[in-house]
């Protein structure tokens, strides 16, 4: 007779508790009013406040000629490590209508402020590593010769392609009389040696609807709204630089910074040439949690 030993399933109570505590923190603690820009693709030079965590969810609905339209989505966790360094982690996925929903990869980015004080033009260095599949459709960056035709395939086929990319941006941004103007030259390298460097750009301009705050707390005051416009697209690659076979978008955008600590962003991007998707409708919801770093440090026994 052989005794059968049935092992108990491992119970992960401790991580469960930590997870619940973190979620509780996110929902009920330490929120902070954010003054966010309306940009979805372009970056200005403002970093996350030190110790603050911003959780952001974004959606993009895109039209696709010759195939199914899609809804791509991503979540960002953006943490202000110091006043000059912000680090961010993304996970993204997409649903292609009449096809499937797939997880498409993750990104890890860091932004470093290069100058201590404000200048006419403020440079920030952006470094990102991304591990994504060919089915990635968030279109956060349009690079090289990216175009609508690249997506005209099933998710099963697109997922076979795996990309490990390094992306570098120089974020140049200037704020004057309430206007912010940001220009982002972008270079991307698929880490496969055979792949060339690719080039891209994103530019944006925005302004709050009012430059003076009202004395009362309000949801619909014009000071809570920031309107702007973005333009982004590819600039070819090292082998064939230029505008031929590239796609470009123009996107009016608006951000609504609510006193209840939420920010809502809306953007409708219009394709500017035949290689572009005709329409990219985007929206995003974000919330900033100040003092998050200190509270987490305290949870793990560190000095809060």
């Amino acid at each position: 007779m052989v005794a059968r030993v049935v092992s108990e399933p491992v119970r992960w109570e401790f991580p469960g508790l930590i997870f619940s505590a973190l979620i509780s923190l996110l929902l009920f603690c330490c929120s902070s009013f954010a003054q966010e820009s309306p940009y979805i693709v372009t970056y200005n030079h403002y970093l996350e406040e030190p110790g603050s965590l911003e959780v952001e969810y974004f959606s993009t609905f895109g039209t696709q000629r010759g195939d199914n339209d899609f809804h791509a989505f991503w979540t960002e966790f953006e943490y202000g490590a110091t006043a000059w360094w912000t680090t961010e982690f993304y996970v993204d996925g997409q649903t292609t209508f009449h096809d499937s929903t797939v997880f498409t990869g993750f990104r890890f980015e860091n932004r470093f402020r290069l100058l201590q004080r404000e200048h006419l033009v403020n440079p920030v260095l952006y470094v990102e590593y991304e591990q994504i599949s060919g089915a990635d459709k968030i279109l956060k960056e349009i690079e090289g010769h990216d175009g609508e035709a690249d997506f005209a395939d099933s998710n099963a086929a697109l997922r076979k392609e795996h990309k490990h990319e390094l992306e570098l941006k120089l974020l140049l941004s200037s704020t004057f009389k309430g206007w912010n103007v940001a220009v982002n030259p972008i270079v991307t390298k698929n880490l496969l040696p055979s792949e060339p460097w690719e080039f891209a750009y994103a530019i944006g301009a925005s302004r709050p609807l009012a430059l003076k705050a009202s004395p009362n707390r309000c949801n619909f005051c014009s000071e809570n709204f920031v309107a702007g416009v973005e333009m982004y697209g590819g600039l070819g690659d090292m082998q064939s630089p230029g505008l031929h076979s590239t796609s470009h978008y123009l996107a009016p955008t608006v951000a609504w910074n609510l006193p209840s600590d939420w920010t809502l962003r809306l953007s409708s991007g219009f394709g500017l040439n035949d290689n572009s998707h005709r329409l990219l409708l985007r929206w995003g919801l974000s919330r900033e949690f100040s003092g998050f770093g200190e509270i987490v440090r305290g949870l793990f026994g560190g000095r809060p």
Partner: protein
């Protein structure tokens, strides 16, 4: 035998490299900590002296405006209170703004600090707030008095 000897030598190199890396890490860490300590020991309010003459001379367009004080108070609560305390008395993250150094500073100096931040000490730049909003915060700060407002008990 030769293989065993080569393996031992390889392990020796790895061990030596590990010790060297750890020692280097400790030296770098301690140096950075000493530098940070030196930085901390400098006066908290020294950055006020960095404001250039032209910035100091700027006049507050909202001086004496009670509406601006109220709006500035709202903005302070939204953007500044987390670090400087709800009553501006300071917290572990940010210094008191009720101290004489701040209260006696020119409005232009305070605007300059708000605009440029003190990045090396953890205060971000606040030029993302439009200039009139930054002036409203300055107006609010200067309406506070060390006699009427007690520091936060942080």
């Amino acid at each position: 035998m030769r293989t065993h000897s080569a393996l031992s030598r390889f392990n020796g190199y790895i061990g030596f490299a590990t010790i060297a890396i750890v020692a280097f890490g400790v030296v770098v860490f301690e140096t950075l900590r000493a530098l940070a300590e030196t930085e901390r020991s400098k006066s908290t309010y020294a950055a006020l002296a960095d404001a250039p003459e032209k910035a100091r001379e700027k006049k507050n367009p909202f001086e004496g405006d009670t509406q601006a004080v109220a709006a500035g108070g709202k903005l302070f609560e939204q953007h500044c209170a987390d670090c400087h305390g709800k009553k501006a008395g300071g917290t572990r993250k940010g210094p008191s703004l009720l101290r004489e150094e701040v209260q006696q500073a020119n409005p232009g100096t305070l605007l300059w600090i708000l605009t440029n931040g003190v990045v090396r000490r953890g205060m971000p730049v606040w030029s993302k707030l439009p200039e009139p909003e930054r002036w409203q915060i300055v107006t609010y700060l200067q309406s506070l008095s060390a006699h009427s407002v007690k520091p936060d008990p942080h």
